[in-house]
């Protein structure tokens, strides 16, 4: 285990050196700069209710994406989002430690439980792994409700904040997101990521060329659940409330949708997916009242046509992406970027 660790760390360090000298680095800096100055141009409401969730869900979707890159598609990631959220808030409230330490400890706890679930999953094929993870996300609701005296999960409670909500919180979430997504990028580029992809493509062959598939699948599980827990802790703070609803299948399916729509296995995919889906969920409801007037005669049994119609549309969108653009929308953006770069370099020559 130690040698793998040293090797992978060395490989991650090498990737970091490569990255800091590449063109991507400048692109990365440009994106960071744009995200950093965003609050100057939009209202505080947009910063708090649209941009902050986008950033937090980008971490969450990236963590799911990292696990999926090893061929393990979790359908119960909400369990780890919730564990991170509850643990970080409960630790801060019950033991009085600063919320930021609670956030780290909560993520570590999420990773520890991820290790246990990962141990149950390492031998399983894709379908069963999906079922077991989904099942775990349902069991955990029962467990949290059973120990309601300690968790307070049935009624929910206010979460302690690291910094006040709004613009300060945005910058904090942004810092966390930049660091964690960068770490995940380095991991996926390193030898670890290569092993993950080999396992995804063909586990038997990966085993044959000497990859200890069980170990690498577990490593993917632990890293992924750590960042999912971190996202959960941040999310609970961003809405300043946590309750059992965080375990709902909706939160398990969300990172999957984001990663698949954006582009599975790429680093930018989950981020793009998070931006697309959160934008849809933040802005499309504004046409709900118009929709109700228009479509209510067609669907008389529902009071509000908008939400189910939107979800139905998301489902169709997901299926269409999987069938017609299995690499998601990220390659399209990459293509556009390459096109722009080649046309500018032509101008220079």
């Amino acid at each position: 285990m130690n040698r793998t660790l040293v090797n992978s760390l060395g490989s991650i360090k090498r990737e970091f050196m490569n990255f800091s000298h590449s063109q991507k680095f400048y692109f990365f800096l440009a994106v960071m700069a744009i995200v950093a100055i965003m609050p100057l141009f939009v209202s505080d409401y947009v910063v708090g209710e649209v941009l902050t969730p986008m950033i937090i869900f980008a971490i969450y979707a990236s963590s799911w994406n990292l696990l999926a890159s090893s061929g393990q598609g979790s359908l119960g990631h909400a369990a780890f989002l919730g564990i991170g959220g509850f643990a970080s808030a409960l630790l801060a409230i019950k033991s009085g430690i600063p919320p930021i330490i609670g956030l780290f400890l909560g993520s570590l706890l999420s990773a520890a439980i991820g290790l246990l679930i990962g141990l149950a999953c390492v031998r399983l094929k894709a379908w069963f792994l999906a079922m077991v993870t989904f099942g775990f996300s349902v069991i955990i609701v029962t467990i949290f409700s059973q120990f309601d005296d300690f968790t307070g999960a049935v009624m929910g409670f206010r979460t302690p904040l690291i910094v006040e909500r709004g613009v300060p919180f945005y910058y904090m979430a942004f810092t966390f997101a930049a660091v964690s997504i960068f770490i995940m990028y380095l991991i996926m580029k390193s030898k670890l990521g290569l092993a993950f992809r080999a396992i995804h493509q063909n586990e038997a062959e990966a085993k044959m060329i000497g990859i200890n598939t069980g170990k690498y699948r577990l490593i993917a599980f632990v890293i992924s659940t750590f960042f999912a827990g971190l996202a959960g802790g941040l999310y609970a703070q961003s809405i300043q409330y946590i309750q059992n609803f965080i375990f709902e299948p909706y939160y398990s399916f969300l990172p999957l949708m984001m990663a698949v729509i954006g582009g599975l296995g790429t680093i930018e995919g989950p981020i793009i997916g998070s931006v697309i889906i959160r934008a849809i969920e933040s802005y499309l409801p504004s046409i709900d009242s118009a929709l109700d007037g228009l479509l209510h005669p067609l669907f008389p049994s529902v009071n509000h046509v908008g939400p189910p119609l939107r979800m139905l549309g998301l489902g169709v969108f997901l299926i269409a992406v999987v069938i017609f653009a299995p690499k998601g929308v990220a390659p399209l953006i990459r293509k556009a970027y390459n096109y722009l770069r080649s046309s500018t370099s032509e101008e220079k020559t």
Binding site: A68, G71, G73, L75, A120, R123, L124, K125, A126, W127, F128, A130, M131, V132, F134, G135, F136, V138, I139, T142, I143, S145, Q146, H200, P249, F253, L256, M257, V260, L264, F299, S301, V302, V305, P308, L309, M311, L312, L314, G315, V316, F317, L318, I319, V322, I323, P326
Partner: protein, 291 residues
């Protein structure tokens, strides 16, 4: 209070609930056996089946038990569409793609049901509603008894279909080795469509029975899927007798757990069983070879 008649009743009700899950698990199992495909939206087909039967019973005034046939037919047609337009496109690519497509289908079905029928809980009106058969201190509803017999009839018909007909032979051949059966002149695409429609029809029948016994709403589909999975895993992948035994064991386990531990454990037990069996014996209790 725990009494012997209470335990007998829990067992009997467990058998009745188990029957519904047997149908669902058998459908899932047939599709998996022939196509090596797992449809996570199978429970949503059950939900759609319940609504179709409900619509047939209320709008057309059909008897609830005749509405089961309508539900089977309509859901089978939906199954044909699903196979043709979604799953066939991703079959044989990355296994994760099948999971993604089923997830999209879950969204589509649940929200289409909300749009068409609303969020309220419904139940199919059966002519035997509220009637109980009492044997000493043990009593069971007529509807539950009828559900058990309907499931037995369907399973016998299914057995005959698989063992005695040409398409059944083709399905069994395809499940063993699809390329070899293709070389022997089996039209694989037709077999796939038929298999998926058959599995969907079983889910539709399960849905109609579910709707007669329990109240339902558009969100009920997810749990039956997982229960069907647990049953398949207990019974062994691809084995129909295994699904029957697994379903009965599961229904009984669930009901006795509710009887001894209380209602909130009803759903958790499915996952506990699923995870325990997968960790201890990933091929299932009756399964022989791993997939």
């Amino acid at each position: 209070m725990i009494t012997s008649s209470g335990i007998v009743e829990a067992l009997l009700w467990g058998v009745a609930n188990g029957c519904i899950y047997i149908l669902l698990a058998t459908g899932l199992n047939i599709i998996f056996g022939v196509m090596k495909l797992v449809n996570f939206a199978h429970g949503q087909l059950l939900m759609i089946g319940a609504y179709i039967a409900f619509a047939a019973a209320t709008a057309l005034g059909l008897n609830a038990y005749i509405a089961i046939l309508v539900a089977m037919g309509v859901v089978a047609l939906i199954g044909v569409g699903l196979e043709r337009f979604t799953f066939r496109r991703v079959l044989g690519t990355d296994k994760l793609n099948e999971i993604f497509v089923s997830l999209g289908l879950i969204y589509v079905f649940e929200n289409a049901a909300v749009l068409l029928w609303g969020n309220r809980s419904q139940q199919i009106a059966s002519p035997f509603q509220g009637l109980q058969l009492s044997l000493g201190q043990v009593s069971i509803g007529y509807d539950r008894l009828l559900a058990i017999s309907v499931v037995i009839v369907i399973l016998i018909a299914l057995f005959l279909l698989l063992k005695k007909t040409k398409i059944g032979l083709a399905m069994r051949a395809t499940s063993q080795k699809s390329t070899a059966s293709m070389l022997m002149g089996v039209n694989i695409e037709k077999v796939y469509i038929f298999t998926f429609a058959l599995g969907a029809a079983l889910a539709g029948a399960a849905g109609a029975l579910y709707g007669i016994i329990f109240p339902f709403n558009p969100g009920i589909g997810a749990l039956p899927t997982i229960k069907a999975f647990a049953i398949i895993i207990i019974g062994g992948l691809g084995s129909i007798p295994g699904a029957v035994i697994g379903g009965l064991l599961y229904g009984i386990a669930e009901n006795t757990a509710v009887y001894f531990l209380g209602g909130i454990w009803q759903d958790a037990i499915a996952f506990a069983l699923l995870i325990i069996v997968l960790v201890i014996k990933p091929t299932g209790i009756f399964g022989e070879k791993g997939e």
